[in-house]
């Protein structure tokens, strides 16, 4: 047991574990100390100084987020000295900040703004430094916008990019009055190693890092009567959208979301879950094919382990960081892009629509999907497969703009075709979900039996944040055509967050890993913690989203991708067979090696 420390905060005695910070000790007493640079997902920086408190017998005011408690410490969190100092600090931040809030995308969801309003900073105390600064805005990226004039240099983004993602696209440049958050040689984001994962966006306290929004473009498409606007919604959107519309984390709002989309005026509300299931069929067969070529044909060119390819942040990360391992990536497009390619081919045929009149919109928990949709290879239908990608947050904006009282909306069902879903698709939204969905199907394809886990819950592959989860599955009593897998122990690994992805791939590169199948999600917790999800984010919120996902899965009548009726139909009517000619044309892709600098 750890040592206990006694201290007094605002006259109240409290006993906490040694090493606790003043900030956390105060929160035990329900005293909220304001913070800006502090984020519970990240290491302590202690650089904004907003959380300073008064410590008796100390000349200086320590930062509550960084100062550990000590025995007999007497702390005042709201003394006159503290109030003056905090106000000075917030005023200083505002003086460097382009505080034109009504022109800011984060207006109403900005931590600096709420602090300013709390502190009644109406009458700015100091000189406005903004006019003398040569702030730049990086608008050259299809996914993210970086506006230095809104930046308060808290370095949350820098720590996110380095600690959580090990990408380090963002760093600190220059010093003193010129100090700023920048990229390698100040190149625009699209020219550097940035994966567009958007984790920095989720943690930016102001509007300095935001997604490029396509709200107006989508409205225009909806209003254009000559267009048939199709929308697909990713699995992780339905368990988080409520948060951005005033509901508590962990609410499943699938039915309300579909109603809202209909009311917004989309012509067809379809489900990315459908192509998630389709991905499992294609990717599962691709894995079996690779295994066969390796084990039976002894083909030395087969790249194993095979890694999932649904997470576009992960794809770009691999392209930059381990370009030599690109052959290990499944050639399957992500569900979003499979969907886009099918909307303008299969769906158009079935619905007798001219693909050039279809506008394909996706709602994603992700900012990297915006970049993905703009990749030149994502035009298999002859058109841009996905025209606009909106984040969960942007959908919430549209719902608010339309004046819909979201929590009072009735439930509706997805349209068809391409609207059917299974539990296997739903769990794509959580780390380990693709692996679990794939195993549910692959095992059955290989053995003809259901995977031997209670209620199909393959708990060993359900990853958690902050770990690399390894699991193995012994395959026995195979069907005759899969005899080569008899007795094979299928080795899997699941990782979320690019820092852990890097660890896994380094092991693969060094030949230290003997996996068959790798699932990687770029974001902490998987898509549920995606860069396009509602802000704020923290471990507690993400774990509630995760619970919701598995609750949704458990409640679905169909739990296995190969049981999805729309999937069965598309193979019967259009694709013919997994990895067939049409599949290759529409559902598979290739990757581009990129440089790190």
């Amino acid at each position: 047991m750890s040592k206990k420390v006694n201290l007094t905060i605002d006259g109240i005695s409290v006993t906490v574990d040694e090493g606790t910070t003043i900030l956390n000790a105060a929160s035990k007493l329900n005293i909220h100390i304001p913070t800006l640079c502090y984020h519970e997902d990240l290491c302590v920086a202690g650089n904004c100084r907003v959380c300073v408190v008064e410590q008796e017998n100390s000349r200086t005011l320590p930062a509550a987020c960084a100062m550990p408690v000590s025995e007999g410490m007497v702390i005042h969190t709201n003394s006159g000295k503290v109030r003056v100092a905090r106000k000075h600090i917030v005023e200083l931040l505002l003086s460097e900040h382009n505080a034109d809030c009504t022109k800011c995308y984060k207006n109403g969801n900005c931590e600096l703004q709420s602090l300013a309003s709390q502190m009644l900073t109406g009458d700015h105390m100091f000189l406005d430094l903004v006019p003398d600064k040569q702030y730049t805005i990086d608008i050259f990226n299809s996914a993210l916008i970086k506006d230095d004039s809104r930046c308060i240099r808290c370095q949350r983004c820098v720590r996110t990019c380095e600690e959580l993602q090990s990408v380090s696209a963002l760093g600190v440049a220059y010093r003193g009055n010129k100090m700023k958050i920048s990229t390698f040689y100040e190149h625009p984001l699209f020219e550097v190693v940035c994966t567009n994962c958007g984790q920095c966006v989720n943690r930016c306290p102001t509007g300095a890092l935001i997604e490029r929004n396509y709200v107006d473009q989508v409205w225009d498409a909806i209003y254009d009567t000559s267009k048939h606007v199709v929308v697909q919604t990713a699995p992780a959107v339905r368990i988080a959208l409520g948060e951005a519309l005033g509901m508590p984390p962990g609410k499943i709002v699938t039915g309300k979301m579909v109603t809202a989309l209909k009311r917004l005026g989309f012509d067809a509300i379809l489900d990315t879950d459908f192509t998630a299931d389709l991905t499992i069929i294609e990717e599962g067969h691709e894995l079996l094919d690779r295994l066969k070529r390796a084990l039976v044909d002894k083909d030395p060119k087969v790249a194993l382990p095979m890694a999932t390819s649904c997470s576009p942040g992960w794809i770009k990360f691999l392209e930059h960081t381990f370009p030599e391992l690109l052959p290990n990536l499944s050639t399957c497009k992500s569900p979003q892009q499979m969907f886009g390619a099918l909307v303008k081919t299969y769906y158009a045929q079935k619905k007798k629509l001219d693909p050039k009149n279809i506008v394909s919109v996706s709602i994603m928990p992700c900012t990297a999907k915006k970049f993905e949709a703009n990749r030149p290879e994502m035009r298999a239908s002859g058109y841009k497969d996905v025209d606009y990608v909106l984040t969960t947050r942007e959908l919430a904006i549209m719902i608010t703009q339309a004046g819909l009282e979201f929590d009072k909306l009735p439930d509706s069902n997805f349209d068809n075709i391409m609207g059917a879903s299974t539990g296997a698709a739903v769990i794509f939204g959580s780390t380990g979900g693709v692996m679990e969905a794939a195993l549910r199907t692959v095992y059955e394809v290989v053995t003809g039996r259901e995977i031997p886990f209670e209620d199909l819950n393959i708990l060993p592959v359900r990853g958690t944040e902050g770990e690399v989860r390894e699991a193995s599955l012994l395959i026995t009593k195979t069907k005759p055509e899969f005899r080569f897998l008899e007795g094979v122990e299928l080795k899997c690994v699941v990782a979320n967050g690019l820092a852990y992805a890097k660890e896994v791939m380094q092991n693969v590169k060094d030949g230290k890993a003997n996996y068959h199948f790798i699932e990687i999600m770029a974001c902490p917790g998987g898509c549920l913690g995606g860069g396009g999800q509602p802000i704020p984010t923290n471990k507690e919120i993400r774990s509630k989203r995760k619970e919701a996902i598995y609750r949704e899965d458990a409640g679905m009548p169909l739990r296995k991708s190969h049981e999805n009726p729309d999937v069965k139909e598309i193979y019967a009517d259009f694709l013919v067979k997994p990895l067939g000619h049409k599949s290759h044309e529409l559902l598979h892709t290739h990757y581009t090696p990129r440089k790190r600098y």
Partner: protein
């Protein structure tokens, strides 16, 4: 100016033995406790300016249990108006190396580093030659304590000890949160003693003279002597070793040009003392401490320009990490300009003085906490020069 009024001392630069590294050789034979006792008895405080008791720092590091420990000599002499470490490293590098080795023995470190200011790279060839001789000598003694030099890259902030570690480790020079302090977690996260160049020389001096004799110099709060960098409006600028605890008045009598209106003690981050306070001001830890910089200004100088110059320096040299220092320096600079130009009322200076007080208590590091010293002491004492 008649005869010398201040006691000149020649302990730092003097040569007292024809035998090289004699003090080091003698000290290495002594038990660690005895060395620490002597240091404690001497009352030596760090010569970088902050004045932390050296014996206590060494004891804290000695008591830490760790596989690796380090001794670092802070030779990132960047404070405007300070140039004494350069002189020490040029003339008596042997004493610096000896002091570091003694520290290494006491705390149980196997390695020492000199973090040399980038602009002092011209000292490097001589310094490396001396280190070579030192290494040879140590080999003969059978004591293993190699010393290396690491060069800074020109950032003022890297004189702050934790920013210096970051820089040495190859990162951007930004101060760390404290605690943990360097004696617990310093360079590479290991217990580290980091002292100023002059402090190490003082250690050697104490080892040679004994604490009793060392204590004959200075006052009860400020033991010993100190090397001062004297500059500005003085007929005799240069490096002087003087007894600590002297009244500023006597210093000005000796070094001033007869028309001294203010002395900036401790460099740009130090305090400006106006003529009317010369008498009551003592140079030492009980009064105005200094890392050695003494800048004299006569009545031809505009204190507005002096302050503008300092703030200009800090606006650029703040690491930019914490809000009070990064933005505060810009506000102070732009603020005095606005008042001077009449864009802001004189009363705005009061607002800025309050800000400077906040900066002193909320900045993340020691340097950030001291950047506003010159502002408040100059504005408080020369308000009319700021306005008219």
């Amino acid at each position: 100016m008649s005869e010398s009024k201040l006691k000149r001392v020649d302990l730092i630069f003097g040569e007292y033995s024809s035998e090289k590294y004699k003090v080091l050789a003698d000290t290495l034979k002594r038990p660690n406790d005895e060395i620490l006792d002597d240091l404690l008895e001497s009352g030596l405080k760090g010569r970088g300016g902050a004045g932390f008791p050296t014996a206590m720092k060494w004891k804290l590091a000695a008591d830490e249990k760790a596989s690796e420990k380090y001794v670092i000599c802070n030779a990132d002499e960047g404070e405007p108006g300070t140039f004494k470490d350069r002189e020490i490293l040029t003339r008596v590098p042997r004493k610096v190396l000896s002091g570091m080795a003694i520290c290494g023995k006491v705390i149980g470190a196997k390695r020492g580093y000199i973090y040399l200011r980038g602009e002092y790279s011209f000292l490097l060839p001589e310094l490396l030659r001396e280190i070579e001789q030192y290494n040879e000598f140590l080999k003969k003694l059978g004591f293993d304590f190699p010393i290396e030099v690491k060069l800074g890259s020109g950032a003022y902030i890297c004189g702050e000890e934790s920013a210096l570690f970051e820089s040495m480790e190859g990162y951007r020079g930004e101060p760390r949160n404290k605690p943990p302090y360097p004696t617990t977690s310093g360079y590479m996260g290991k217990p580290t003693v980091i002292n100023n160049v002059e402090t190490f020389v003082n250690v050697v001096m104490i080892m040679r003279l004994g604490p009793i004799q060392f204590k004959l110099l200075g006052t009860s709060d400020s033991r010993g002597s100190k090397v001062f960098s004297v500059s500005g409006d003085t007929p005799i600028p240069g490096i002087y070793e003087l007894e600590l605890g002297m009244p500023l008045e006597r210093f000005v009598e000796e070094f001033g040009d007869g028309d001294t209106k203010a002395v900036q003690v401790g460099g740009a981050s130090g305090f400006c003392v106006p003529r009317k306070k010369f008498k009551e001001t003592v140079i030492g830890f009980e009064g105005v401490p200094t890392g050695g910089s003494m800048m004299l200004f006569n009545s031809s100088r505009s204190m507005y320009n002096v302050l503008h110059n300092y703030l200009d320096f800090f606006e650029e040299e703040s690491c930019g990490q914490c809000t009070p220092c990064r933005v505060g320096c810009q506000q102070l600079l732009k603020g005095i300009v606005a008042v001077k130009k009449g864009d802001k009322n004189a009363i705005y200076l009061e607002q800025l003085l309050k800000l400077s007080e906040s900066m002193k208590i909320t900045a993340k590091c020691g340097l950030g906490q001291s950047v506003a010293n010159s502002f408040s002491s100059i504005v408080n004492n020369f308000k009319e020069e700021m306005i008219y």
